[in-house]
Amino acid sequence: MIKHYEISGTDFANGGEASSDFKTVLKKLGVPMDVIRKVSIAMYEAEINTIIHGHGGTCDAEIMPDRVVITFKDSGPGIKDIDLAMQEGYSTATDQIRELGFGAGMGLPNIKKYTDDMQIETSEGKGTTVILTIKL
């Protein structure tokens, strides 16, 4: 089963709507709360990344009997140096975004921490796809 979400590129106020809706779905399915918590945190971070860096995109969250696979896709600028982006505290967010309290450089590290697998496909100027897998 796949839940599809559109993520608006400018909408900070509504950031987190996809992760919050998906959390309700998992609860209704009876997924244990510790798993839901991991999904929520990782998904929220990825959603905010899609807004800030990807200027919006899509999210497809697929539920399988043994795992959840969530794919975030954007057509933003792409990630120049993935290794650098994975470092805690490193961020390319603009001052304007930092003033809003985002851009602490913990997005990708947190996603990695709370998922069982994370794949990044990126190409400069074309966009980024991040695939998160969490075991059930």
């Binding site: 009876g30 945190i41 009997p65």
Partner: protein, 423 residues
């Protein structure tokens, strides 16, 4: 299996959907023109009582004749009750009036609250509180957590409520004073909300009931007001301090917690927001006070006075320093839950994950073709809830009047085409 104080007066119900839309656990549906409460989901918050324009939602409390059963009757008075009477700033006046209308004695729940404050502080100092700790004082919140946030049950402080501890103390004192056996002592509560009534009947955390029954504030109000007018010199009955009294409004409980890291939220939907956040990540707080009613207990749906006016009045209650009776020794074990709060997984579609998945897919499919107006005309609170109802077997797609109109238009079109072509 479930007792609920919140009930429907069917004759008064117009079948509108005000209550359906306002229910925080989506526990109400309109069927055959009348609102039905899904018992498993109801948390007795009384939001429906508040919003019903026809006063069709009621709270079932006990008849006053119940006091005839016992020889000595004590009434437990919650602090929010003190704010109900215009021009009265002396607690003694209100307590004296309660004796005048027939109760043999009074006991302030505010005093029970002071014991809970002391017990909470001790548990916190000993490091025995969960982190963050959620107050157990509001029965609606306990039910809400058990049905919507079962994973947060362990965060609730496992102390009984101020009302229950007050009832225990009142019983002991009455037995000492009168020499009567416990069965001859009646302990009653004047309740600002249906949830307290429910918690008295079901005594969730105790193995046996400690309170005989409850009467609603609005039921006793007129009688007490009349009695107040006739009082020349009130008896000295008040013993609780202003700290205990402040529990009647939101934030009052937090004020007694020995930590500055406290959160208090009032109103059931605000409380839900705090719990949702706590569920996904840790909140920077040691103690969380949640009350279902806006403004705290003063906002109870069975109260008479405007909650903001009542809260201000409570703030200015005069308690003579010499009247405050210091707390005696207390046994914390006596205040602990004797039964745990059980999780209720009503939101789950099925206990079996694969079956639940199948149902979820079906819901998504049905929802996709819904008008998504959330008009409520089908009797469900939203199109999504309706889709879920259909899959759970509670409703039919034909209930949707928007879809029905579309179908009707299609039929008319087809008929017009046929008429034009001719059979």
């Amino acid at each position: 299996m479930y007792f609920h104080s919140v009930a429907l007066d069917s004759d008064k119900c117009h079948g509108c959907t005000n209550c359906v839309k306002g229910c925080p656990t989506e526990a109400i549906r309109v069927r055959d023109g009348k609102a039905r409460i899904i018992k498993e989901r109801c948390i007795d918050c009384g939001e429906c009582i508040r919003v019903c324009p026809y006063h069709a939602k009621i709270s079932v409390t006990d008849p006053r004749t119940l006091t005839q059963v016992c020889k000595h009757n004590v009434i437990l008075v919650p602090p929010s009750f003190y704010g109900q009477f215009e021009g009265v700033s002396d607690v003694n006046v209100i307590l004296t009036a309660l004796k005048k209308i027939g109760f043999d004695d009074v006991y302030e729940v505010a005093r029970g609250a002071e014991y809970i404050t002391a017990a909470t502080a001790r548990l916190m100092e000993e490091g025995k509180l969960p982190h963050p700790a959620i107050s157990s004082a509001c029965p609606v919140m306990n039910r809400l957590i058990s049905v919507r946030f079962p994973d947060l049950i362990d965060n609730i402080v496992n102390l009984i409520s101020p009302m229950e501890i007050a009832a225990k103390m009142a019983r002991r004192e009455a037995a000492e004073k009168t020499g009567l056996p416990d069965r001859d002592i009646g302990v009653f509560f004047v309740t600002p909300c249906p949830a307290k009534m429910t918690s008295i009947r079901t005594y969730m955390f105790l193995t046996e009931p400690v309170i005989n029954g409850a009467f609603s504030v609005n039921e006793l109000y007129a009688e007490i007001r009349a009695a107040i007018k006739k009082i020349d010199k009130p008896e000295k009955l008040a013993r609780a301090s202003i700290h205990g009294i402040s529990w009647g409004r939101e934030g009052g409980e937090c004020a007694g917690v020995p930590s500055p890291r406290v959160i208090h939220a009032d109103g059931v939907n605000n409380a839900v927001k705090v719990l949702e956040q706590l569920e996904s990540k840790d909140i920077d707080a040691d103690f969380i006070e949640l009350s279902s009613c806006p403004g705290g207990c003063v906002g109870g749906p069975l109260n008479v006075e405007n909650p903001f006016v009542a809260a201000a009045r409570m703030e200015n209650m005069i308690v003579a320093h010499e009247d405050v009776d210091p707390l005696g020794e207390f046994d914390i074990d006596d205040m602990m839950w004797k039964k745990d709060l059980e999780p209720v997984y009503i939101m789950r579609l099925d206990d079996d994950f694969t079956v639940a998945m199948g149902k979820m897919e079906e819901i998504e499919k049905i929802y996709e073709h819904m008008p998504r107006l959330d008009c409520g005309a089908c009797g469900a609170p939203s199109c999504r809830a309706k889709a879920e109802d259909i899959v759970r077997g509670y409703g039919r797609e034909e209930d949707c009047i928007v879809k029905m109109r579309e179908r009707l238009l299609e039929l008319l079109k087809e008929k017009a085409k046929k008429d034009y072509i001719g059979d």
